[in-house]
Amino acid sequence: MEPKVWREMGLNDEEYEKIKRLMAREPNFLEVGIFSVMWSEHCSYKTSKPILKKFPIEGPQVLQGPGEGAGIVDIGDDLAVVFKMESHNHPSAIEPYQGAATGVGGILRDVFSMGARPVAVLDALRFGPLEEGNNKLLLSGVVGGIGGYGNSIGIPTVGGDVYFHSSYSGNPLVNAMAVGILEHKHIAKAVATGVGNPVMVVGAKTGRDGIHGATFASVELTEESESKRSAVQVGDPFMEKLLMEACLELIQADIIVGIQDMGAAGLTCSSSEMADHGDSGIEMDLSLVPRRETGMTPYEIMLSESQERMLVVPKAGKEREVEEVFIRWGLEATVVGRVTDDGRLRLIEDGKIVADMPVKALTDEAPVYHRPTREPSYYQELKQVNLENVELKESAENVLLALLTNPTIANKEWVYRQYDHQVGTNTVVVPGGDAAVLRVRGTRKGIAMTTDCNSRFVYLDPYIGGALAVIEAAQNIVCVGAKPLAITDCLNFGNPEKPEIFWQFEQACAGISEACRILETPVTGGNVSLYNETPGRAIFPTPMIGMVGLLEDIGQVLGNQIGTEGEQIYIVGELEGEISGSEYLAVFENLEAGLLPELNLQAIKERLKFILKLNKPGLLQAAHDVTEGGLAVALAEMTAACGADISINSSSELKTLFGERLGRIIISVPKKHADAVESLAKADGIPLCYLGESKGINLRIKVNGRECLNIPLGKYRPLYEQTIRNIMDSENEE
């Protein structure tokens, strides 16, 4: 075989030699194709595995950690939450609508293939600045695709986050998270056991779309990427809805051994992984696979990423029952092979063996690379940038208005208005809250969920930034009154073959691990997306964190809006933030630099526990964490119904109003509970600072007795709420 063949499929020469050794012969074209996708970064995690192994994955709440379609966490009453986040970055860069839509479809299949009914979707999105290039079109297409898929299948899109930064120009991030609810007894696994048990392909027919999608996801985006548009799949939410109902019916009928989504690398990955998990083999006759195109080769059938398909191993003799379920939903279910005990993946076409390889060679034997790391030169340089002389450039009022109309901070209603966030009638906290909250029908419980990552912090200090992404997620969960349970992650980085990038990856994961250990929120799964680069530039390292939390009593759900006049407003944590890595510094000094404040995870954990302690007996009206834009922005976000009169003493107006530092939460307390809150803080040794009270229709802030800001709600709220709409509706909208 010509080296060109395997190289074009993304294998290097050493990898090809290893395949030859494992096969004890020259592989044929089909076999090389199968190895190439199974050994791609997307399927094998060959680069990231040594790092991911260090994540804390255990806890009494964890029913299923990494390795299956999705993680599972116990919420009591024999119920569990199933959740996972996954990237669809490269497809979305090329074909935003379908890329994002199939991202949603894929993550939903991961959740319902575990036996859970999906109840919510969240989307963490990152784009380049809206005024640059085609970013507006990308935002428009991605949001349309997410809505188009989620709205149709009838699962509410309840949250997520959107940031804009130039490092994402040309390489947007589209990370979709799905959350489902499951009864313990219905947990399904991706496993093929029981010699002679049939192997069935169910759902949609197989076509030529998405061939080599997994490999495509594992290289940098270049100008030629456009020509790989055929590697982007096309979604059919109606088909997925049928598939979901049929699969859930199947799992509940208890007639199957195992089930797995056909996502990346389709039939190849699902069959190898199911056999791997079952320590078995699988033999399939490819001529039996239902197709929607004629003349497909075994190679195309095995590598197709046609959507809305599953691989199912029923118990022997239950094939007919499986078929009946699918026929009722208007779908096909076809026996294409059987489980064997010889540990081989054997493929047959027209009676001839066309591929025959050891399953473990595809999975366990995939190469693992311990990539070199090197601290990038920018790291020390940016830390040492002197920010002592940075001063407020304009009036506090102008700064606040500029920050509130900065698209990263501005209200995202334009986005979530296009998502059905209420279908299912369980959504208690809709988009716009700190985290989304859904009630769990038939119980008093609620589940909270969020996605977070400030990638500027990760860029400046990957270790601290990684930890802060977890902290921010936990803050958001706590601010709706829920206890953080566990995380999923979506690790978006540049090309790991560059030591500086791999250093970012290693550091960020270490920071995430440390924060998860302290907060007792283990990692239950996730996804790695590397090679997020456009010519000459990597994205800011973006380890997106998806977290779920539990409210034992949905009646304790907490909002982020100040309600009426006379509420007492406090900040839990430090009054002052830092200028380093702040939105202020980026917007007004055009500088992304500085030393991040040292991390005290234990102290932050105590504060989060304190918020929950206050909320349980109902001492709080609202809570909201202080993040991008600092205290002034957080206060502006909390004041839609009523203004606030704030008076603080501080040595720095800039650091107090616009400085950033995680681990700080603003609380609004009904007057009658103020004493109780203050004494609890004292007793627990929690830093608590009185800011002022809710009053009137202005946000008014005095620092050291001098009024530095006094703006009517009627002025800043519309600006905050309509910024993105105005940008998106202007000129070049299609």
């Binding site: 009838g154 809805k241 049928l242 296009q418 209420q422 299912g424 208690v428």
Partner: protein
Amino acid sequence: MKIGIVRFPGSNCEVDCLEAWRVIGQDPVMIWHQETSVKGLDLIVLPGGFSYGDYLRTGAIARFSPIMNDVIRFAKDGGLVWGICNGFQILTECGLLPGALLRNAGLHFVCSPQYLRVESNGTVFTNEYKQGQIIQIPVNHGEGNYTIDDEGLKSLQENNQIVFRYATSNGQVHRNGNPNGSRENIAGIVNKEGNILGMMPHPERVVEDIIGGVDGRGMFLSVLKHFERRGQRGA
């Protein structure tokens, strides 16, 4: 009272409708789209969703489904039919209600709380509201832009068939309160006889405070009371 909710394969609000009726104390049955009879039922609900994927035109295929033949017969015999969102689209497609629902002006899908003005509380579905009452019921659709020709509009007006209009928070029926470009801000209509109602907003989403309000309850209670009164009359 016996309520049936038609479940098309791509319906996605059928369970929400079921749960809403349960909040009101009723226990509807689900009717699979391949069934052929709605016999014995007092009210048919056509729920929201994407009946058959709706890739062609919303509701365009649903009208040909086996169950719809009997729903049409039932409606023509005076039976109560309540179409919500996709259900409204299906009712216009099969000609049980006049007009059509086009792509939203602005072209985006819209999911949002929405104020409505009750234009007619004289229907079976709305007699629990006050005439002109402002209620808040969310909308959630990509194709809810109601259109009808001049003659049809005149007929709707003359026969008092316009039931809900989109309004602003202070109750003005004005362009600013119109989420989708509907003609005359029309959000819901009945047929001349008043037994078939189609509406784009989702009242089943607002029957409990915990999920955002109770302004939709009035519709469920109206229908229930209608049957209770009829029962007392011994009909």
